[in-house]
Subunit: 497 residues, 2 copies
């Protein structure tokens, strides 16, 4: 702990020095310069160079979803610079995966360090040959922000592999408990090699309709956001239940929303019983704090407390998928901190803004033997180093608190605009959730017009769900950026109204 305290003081001091220095003091020839406004030079976005570059890329690898080709060397902070030299205020952040801005000086410093260079070019098979400093790396980094009650970690390679490894852990723990913590029997050992029960049990992972948990086969089986994600892919016959459909504004629909929450909780309980009766017990429930890809569907803390109660009571593990909500954007480091749970979830998964991926877990989620939840790389120590720097930077600069504050103001701006443009801004969501804010347009077409209208004036936002616009600014999004967004967005809304 003394080591940790010392390290924190040292890095804190360095950070303060750095923040006080003009950026030109950096020795790098391409030292990050600050940008203060978007600038679109082409008649529309993407411009001609992006179009050409994307069509060339597309001959090698699928670039049909690509928006612009990016000049990453020229990106800075909140600003993305595309191949045509257009500068965008990036409020989408690489699908919510950038925490502390482009070309962050502290990350560039880390990249230049010998420790990082060795780690990134000598990637271990982490489970069998871990680096000797792994404990310290985890303690000063990923474990320093572990959710309360979860003292273990497993690192993975991306959000989908984090979730699926969590599903595996839950299935193993469930069966381990069912067999009374004894060894596997011969029938299990033989049948699993045929993908048959009892060795390959018919356990299920329950999820919510309109939820998103990734796009590999098992994670996709729990994903219910859009057909385009799921069409033509074989799926496990796993149960999904209704997510509470809240009515907005919340203040005017209190009792109706409460009834809806209770209905969904009852459905969860009923489905767990039903599934068990069908010989397909639910090993775990996976849930997002805010359904993100599905359109930013929120639910109140009471709903999540109810989920923890019912899963605990019925012996179902609870996996909280914080791949998109984690790491500060909701105004708390983890979104689930706000629920006031008395028992922690069994597993919390992360990826995206952390740049490293994996899950935190209780001791019960540790497999009965080594090699059971295993693979070659088991994550990436270089990415864990990056996560450590991101975490330290966030803490030293109070970015979670700042995000809570600026998020409140952003919400206020949108609330006002919603009164003026009711067909373009409806069901505003994310009050008290930092900058993790979304709203619906009246139709999918209007939503698309907002997204492309903003893009053409140099502001990048995301689309999600059927007709939602989601904002996913970085944690360094501040008052200045809020003012710019506010001006640009008003102009776009006036044009569309």
């Amino acid at each position: 702990m003394t080591f940790l305290a010392r390290a924190a003081t040292r890095t804190g001091r360095l950070a303060k020095q750095r923040l006080n220095q003009p950026s030109s003091s950096s020795s790098s020839s391409s030292s990050p310069k600050r940008f203060y406004s978007p600038e679109v030079k082409t008649s529309s976005v993407p411009g001609p160079i992006s179009k050409k570059v994307l069509s060339e890329i597309d001959r090698l690898t699928d670039a049909r979803p690509s928006i612009v080709a990016v000049d990453y060397a020229r990106c800075r902070g909140n600003y993305l610079v595309d191949a045509d030299g257009n500068r965008h205020l990036d409020m989408f952040g690489q699908i919510a995966s950038i925490a502390i801005g482009y070309r962050n000086e502290r990350l560039e410093e880390l990249a230049g360090s010998e420790e990082f260079r060795i780690a990134v070019m000598n990637r271990p098979a982490l489970g069998v040959f871990p680096p000797k400093g792994l404990k310290e790396l985890l303690e000063t980094g990923l474990m320093s922000v572990r959710p309360k009650g979860l003292d273990h970690i497993l690192t993975a390679n991306c959000g989908s592999t984090a979730n699926e490894s969590a599903y595996k852990a839950a299935c193993m723990a469930y069966r381990h408990r069912e067999r009374g913590h004894s060894e596997f029997d011969q029938d299990e050992i033989t049948s699993c090699m045929e993908n048959a029960k009892p060795g390959s049990p018919q356990l299920t992972i329950m999820s919510f309709k309109s939820g998103f948990h990734g796009r590999l086969f098992a994670s996709l089986s729990t994903t219910r956001s859009k057909p385009i994600h799921k069409l033509d892919i074989p799926a496990f016959d796993w149960p999904a239940v209704d997510w509470p459909r809240l009515k907005y504004p919340l203040e005017q629909n209190v009792s109706e929303n409460q009834a809806e929450v209770e209905r969904c909780l009852a459905l969860v309980e009923e489905t767990i019983h039903e599934s068990k009766a069908k010989g397909r017990p639910v090993a775990a429930l996976v849930v997002e704090p805010i359904q993100s890809e599905g359109g930013d569907n929120h639910a109140p803390p009471a709903f999540f407390r109810g989920l923890r109660d019912v899963t605990k009571r019925l012996g179902v593990y609870m996996i909280v998928d914080e791949v998109q909500t984690g790491v500060g954007a909701t105004g708390s480091f983890w979104a689930h901190e706000k629920w006031g749970l008395t028992t922690p979830p069994d597993i919390v998964t992360f990826s995206k803004k952390m740049q490293a991926a994996g899950y935190y877990h209780t001791a019960e989620m540790r497999p009965s033997a080594g090699y059971r939840n295993f693979n070659t790389w088991m994550g990436d120590p270089a990415r864990s180093m990056q996560a450590r720097t991101i975490i330290q930077y966030i803490q030293e600069n109070g970015l979670v608190e700042k995000t809570a504050e600026v998020g409140g103001k952003l919400y206020g701006v949108l609330e006002q605009l919603g009164h003026r443009f009711p067909g373009l801004i409806q069901s505003l969501r994310g009050k008290g959730e930092g900058t993790f804010i979304a709203f619906d347009a009246e139709t999918a077409e209007k939503r698309d017009s907002i997204v492309s209208g903003l893009r053409n004036v140099g502001v990048l936002v995301g689309a999600s769900g059927e007709r939602a616009v989601r904002l996913r600014p970085m944690l360094i999004f501040g008052e200045k950026e809020l003012d710019i967004f506010s001006d640009k967005f008003q102009a776009v809304l006036k044009d569309l109204a």
Copy 2:
């Protein structure tokens, strides 16, 4: 192409300069030094420091499978240095994932470059915001070694995600063909959201018994290597067929082995028909050129040509999983090059030694629309840069050819030792397959004694299958290392005999 040619000449010149320089000329304070022999300082491996470090790591993350804690800063070339300062000739290479040695100078140079530092710290959502130089990066790197006939690529995050993304591509292409290349109908769109057919079709991916293709749910459903990989995890009911069990020495069992190959080919055809009759058509067959995790089970080129013929004839896609066999260790860049196929496989997957992961594919494997085989990161340009350097280093130094040559000698040494120690070295495999060599011991216990005996004299090798020892040296394993291994191994065998 002129650009490519120029780049190749330039890097070739640089590499030659570098190879001729004494290593001390490097400006780095920790410039790689060459080691010429293993050295074990502790009474056994792991030593006391490794044991202590591993037990501390284990409190945070599962370290039960860990062999030693590693001091990566001190590793060099073929040598791994552990936390106790023991120096190991590493013939396992982080589960076959190190191609050109620890602390490779060219990789360290790349790590220090501005291009790499920007890429690794500003990871894009590659599908939507690709870097403007992506086409050149792919052309000069991963695409420069694309298997013949496969002109497209999709990058992923690890071997399992590469394979599962390939399974998805195959399922999409299969259904696209079935529906006559027309659009989805409403029934498909609705049913897929319920994980039900026809939208979530009951397609299957066929694999071979004792094969290994990863450990997520779908990849694990095609993996049939060991119960410990599969127990307690729900699996798709997908077919697996016998892998030809060859008898050794091959020269003395020609007709028997040929009959076995034909039996397995017939089984493949039969199973494809049966599966279709059961309403569970086989969309793709996935196959390793050498079943690696399953114990290094080889099959002759005629078997693979037969597989290509039968899959082509029956409209089943063929996925060649080169995650472990790819990138030179078998004496050709891709193991499947030796088969003499007249039609290329539909997909070839890679990971491990490439450090980047993904798959090469034909145009037919491209989904009918964007966003269908999609995720946030879609691979990692920084790892693609690393792959480019690895590929260039291999080519400039002729490492595939050298591996073919030294592998032949390594095989010869083991053949000789097999005559002297028949209970310890049986069914020697990998003739003409570079250093991708394995043998069986009489029993699992004897195999384990060989592995730990070698470890205690500073040589790391891998165990696989039921009683196999597998050798997975890096491509820089040369005559000198062969001599050392030969001496050390003889001593261990004498002790055990």
